[in-house]
Amino acid sequence: MSVAAPARILRSARIPRSAGITRLRREGAIAPITAFVVFFLVYVIINPELLTRFQLQTAANLVVPLALVALGQLLIVLVGGIDISIGAIMSLCNVVFATQLEIVPVPVAILLAVGVGLACGLFNGLLVAYGGLPAIAVTLASAFIFGSIAREVLDRPGGGITKAIYLATSGELLPYLPVSLVWLSVVAVLLWLLLQRTALGRHIYGVGSNMESVRAAGLNARLTKLLAFGLSGMITSVGAMMLAASTVTGDPRSGDAYLLSSIAAVALAGAAFTGGRGSIIGTVLAACTLGLIGNLLFFAGINSYWQYVISALIIFVVVGLPVVWGRITFALKGRRS
């Protein structure tokens, strides 16, 4: 189902064939999807072992937290903001989940972690939507605040994550089907349904692309922004729990690295940082591409430090190429393409 789920998105989008492709193009998803396909082919050619059970599972556990956090970042970017605190939210949910597992039953711990993610998102959202403050500055402040609370909850790696939790999030559901991909698919499909098939979803896209029109149409733009922030916090908390479970530890600094990489994934997905444009499938595949570069280099026998350089070059090329291409066609045809 994991592979089927994203494929289903593609297929259902393709039924009115031109409309689906047009939508993907409008959302900027063509470039990251192409980049992922090329990347995946190169990967399988260099390392056919990827398609063995163990490696598939390891690779899935590696990319799923990043993909989830990137989806959280995408929601904020869609409403025209950016979340600098997303790494701190992730750290906080991670340690809350890990420490609460020692005290309360698993479902309660999950609810608490999601609740904390929601609260963090709403805190940012209230200040941005109702306080009229810039998202980048608000989340810079909350990055300090949430990060400090996370280290207050748990000051060094630890917590009560058990083998059973590892298996439930990072094991295999069926042979060749890592559970983590199933969870990612569930979140991604639900989010896709929400964004494409509900009024709230259309409002989220609307707020990002034209705040004034949305407001003039009598929609509650502030509430939409607030909900987007809250939803983003919840999705980030799922990513945090997946990370805690797959590493079998809670770590108050585990989210730090995800701040920059979540923004990078959203950028690679072709989302517009002014808001209103960005696709779920593009974001998930962009996160997979960025998350697996290190692995690919390892199997290709190249110094894995090159992954940082190559990730950056992929972003510059994939995001920059359409701009250059547009300039060239503009120069050739003498009109805007």
């Binding site: 500055a137 810079l140 400090s148 350089v309 990730s311």
Partner: protein, 339 residues
Amino acid sequence: MTSSTVPASQSPAGAPSGKPLGSASVRQLGSRIPRSTWPLIAFVVLFVIGGLIRPNLITIDSLVGTATFAIILAIASFGQTIAVIQAGIDLSVPNTIAFSALAFLGLVAPFGPVGAFAAALLTGAVIGLLNGVVISKLGLTPIVTTIAMNGLLFGAILLVFNFSELTAIPESLLAITSAKISLLGVETAAVLPLGLVLMGVLQLVLSFTGWGRSLFVVGSAAEVARLGGLPVDRIRIGGYVLSGVLAAFAGVVIVGYYQQASATMGASYLLSSVAAVVVGGASIFGGRGSVVGTVGGALVLAQVSTLVAVLNLGANIQQLIYGVIILLVISLYGRRNSA
């Protein structure tokens, strides 16, 4: 709902009318004070509060200690200030710092301290040039461009440098950073006057040169500047080059002061450089900011960390207070002036 959704900034004339006359004139007086002095006033208040809690904190030594800590953060944030003024942001500051510091140490042996220093600044200029060209010519957002550049530099740092060899720090660098010097009878690390001189020079460039003024114009209204005939792309690229050079300078200063270098030595400056700029009164949307303000912002943050250390509250609480201060500052003047 209709009345509550109108941002307060859209009714500039209406606001003071309901207030007593005295409050309006106080506000008028307040608005005449340059924004960059507010963080300095806040610092003095915090300094006095510290003195009320622990009287032995009101000493020149305590002041110099806090100021030294602040000036290092300020030097690391000068480049960020330039980037923010022109409506950008430079998230490649951390690894520009690390790259230039390591490049300096690596090149000291073949080229000597001066040559290595020039080379380190040159790497900063090249990094800034690449940032500026990608942002203004390719049209990528500053955040994405500089994050990607930061990642690229991290890879380059790990690939290029042999860390075990980079331990010897030349005497001449120590002499201008960590060496104790006596200034007007006050014992201080050499980095403090160095940073203050740099602040003065930069503030003069920003306030009194045409290029410096044009940075503010590009930052507040790029389209207007373009229509007005300013070479916006060139100004913007120049801004990023200066930002890169200043971050590289910070790298050399930091390696001289702390006398150690590592691949992650710049990591803590990712958020704190932006924090110093924001607390210093710059607008995150561009067009407003000053290096004097940034020094003030850094002083406030440094004084908080002094107080936290004296009261034994722990580093976590310090970060929490940083967050609260940033929230306070942006709620005072962080709103977008024009919708």
